[in-house]
Subunit: 129 residues, 2 copies
DNA sequence: CTTGTATATCAACAAATCTTGATATATAAT
DNA sequence: ATTATATATCAAGATTTGTTGATATACAAG
């Protein structure tokens, strides 16, 4: 399939645009995105795979965590992602960011959260402990 | 739905990219696009409606013909369309263009073609007769 | 080695999108 | 008026894409 078509297909889903917007300020691990969305983990993995498959994000494994970040190696895709980030009002993602922060905070405090408690998580990407 | 999402959805179909590429050099009527694709007319109408709905093309009625052209009123969309046109190799659309020219020629010569013969078509957009 | 955690993958189902033959509408020719 | 044409719309089926609970894999902790 045409590369451009693949890119547009990957971008034509609200969840995936939300993920890209969440990655605006740097990489996040899957559990953080799951927490931000407040939804099932397979769903997030599915959409991350779609983004990765289209060359829009890159992943990095660290221990048992998988970190995702925006792939800026292609100028056109980079431009598209930038346009998306600029276009989606922060307001829209407010709830996502709130849940993300809440998750990150509780991870640091060692409170067991849905899927990623510090208790058994070793060097957690968020708190680094 | 977000305008950007709507745009990406409209662009994530091969037929619609093909149509945009065909419109590169100016407007075409539905019957010309149908001829270029060598496919059913409802299919083309469906995809043209999708493009129009996303603000990517404009239409213009003239007699019983409906002409479609690229809508350049939004800068971002215009840029996307330009990128598509530049990116799709002419080679890919060769057959479409061949069928289009064949159709236009036969229309001018008055040879009855699939759906748009000059015989009963009055001032045909292609031949202007 | 056993247990718990993070993530991916799978299978079944659900939802959205596309295709196609049939039909409706508008316009023009006879 | 009747007939033919261009296009849109519709309904049914086909295909694609997304969701979700279950399970597999890999890693780290104890």
């Amino acid at each position: 399939m045409n590369e451009m078509l693949k890119t547009f297909k990957a971008l034509s889903d609200e969840n995936r645009l939300r993920i890209l917007k969440l990655l605006e300020h740097g990489e996040l691990c899957v559990c953080e995105i799951v927490a931000a969305f407040g939804t099932g983990q397979p769903k997030i993995s599915f959409h991350l795979a779609a983004l990765k498959n289209a060359g829009l994000v890159k992943d990095r494994k660290e221990g048992k965590w998988m970190h995702y970040r925006i792939d800026g190696s292609d100028l056109f895709k980079r431009f598209l992602i930038l346009s998306i980030i600029e276009n989606i009002p922060d307001e829209t993602l407010k709830e996502d960011r709130r849940r993300l922060e809440e998750f990150q905070t509780s991870a640091i405090e060692g409170i067991a959260v849905q899927r990623c408690s510090r208790k058994a998580a070793g060097r957690h990407p968020t708190c680094g402990v």
